[in-house]
Amino acid sequence: MDCCSHALPVEVNPGFEVECYHNFRLSIILSSPELRPWFYSRFVNLTLQSYEGEPFPIIRFEDHLDVYSGVLDESPCMSAEDDVVNNIKAFLKSGRYMILYLNWKHVPSSSFYGGQDMIHEALVYGYDDRSRELQMLAFEAGGRGYGRIALSYSKCRELFGRLREENWEKHRWFAYYGFPSSSVKVAEAYPGFDSRSLYFALERSKAAAGSNQMKATGAAVNRLMADYFRDRQADGGMNEEACQVWDTMSGKTILHKKLMLQRLAYLQRGGDGKRLWPAMELYRKSYQEALHMNWASRRYRKRPDPKDLKTIADGYDSLYTMEKRANLLIMEFLVHRQLSHFER
């Protein structure tokens, strides 16, 4: 740190673009190698909430922002009198990142510039007094889906002032997402890998879901998605509104398989890794299947053909079968590892 600038470390691409509020926090966490074990015991299950009235089923990770309790110390900051830039600089100097909400329709480097209101957070990780700019990670700005941008001090002051005047009431319900600004730091005594958390998440992933149900956790999400696509095939196709959400949900399906593979690689490195080979193989095939389904989804959106909806439904059926088996194998591995302490 010199007198004019300071920047905290960030992981520029945590891969959670499809769940933005996680991406910002994970940009902090994944910049510290020692926090990766914590990460590998979280984000195990996807869930599907009821999709009645929704244009497309909404899939999200089971973990919400409370997952960071104990690993990130996050608190709302700034009073009405404070200068936003001075405040941010003071926090950064003390090792705290800032989550800051702005209306991106006023930011020239944003793809939302000049359009409708787009209130979204950014993660401020640095400043430079020479260029009089803040360094931040932001969505859909600087020509990237998620990445580094610089915002001048004056623009930041202007935008934060406008946020208070124009967008406060409507967005106050995002207070627990960090609105309008929060400071964040890695907790002093952060937790490591939590095999209990992983085990019970896998246990929840076994929950069955009948075809008449509309919510599911874990492997059963795939079963409901298979039903959904079969129904759309029978209905004659997908509507335009559904197609807008579809791409994001496909992205989450792919991300989940990638994470499971990273988690398995981590567990394998911990010893007795051969036991995990069959689970690894099943998740490798799941990842492949998810990519293929995504490809078929895109093809359908370009040139609708009901055969692609059947391909996708069949793909979700395969994911259900493979993940159910793989998760049981991982649980068996964890049980064996837990009991091996007694068997030595």
């Binding site: 992205g251 792919i254 490798r284 990842y287 492949q288 990519l291 293929h292 995504n294 490809w295 078929a296 895109r298």
Partner: protein
Amino acid sequence: MGTDERLMGCVMNVISHRTGLNDNSNLLKAGVDSINFIRIVVALEEEFGIEIPDDAIVLDNFSSIARIRSLVLSYSEGAAG
């Protein structure tokens, strides 16, 4: 092993070691269908430690060895290999 050999290895493992392929052979005619090309994507990602973005996962990018090489090189900056 060089990049070309590793790349050919990924393709050949998927299309069952067909012989007589050159840089510009049409892989779609050599048996690369939608499932096989996704298998090639996964094999390349693992072999080269890269991530091929969704937008690039289109059959055209996998229609010949030359096109696959160009794709891999464009995403290999900073990755092993």
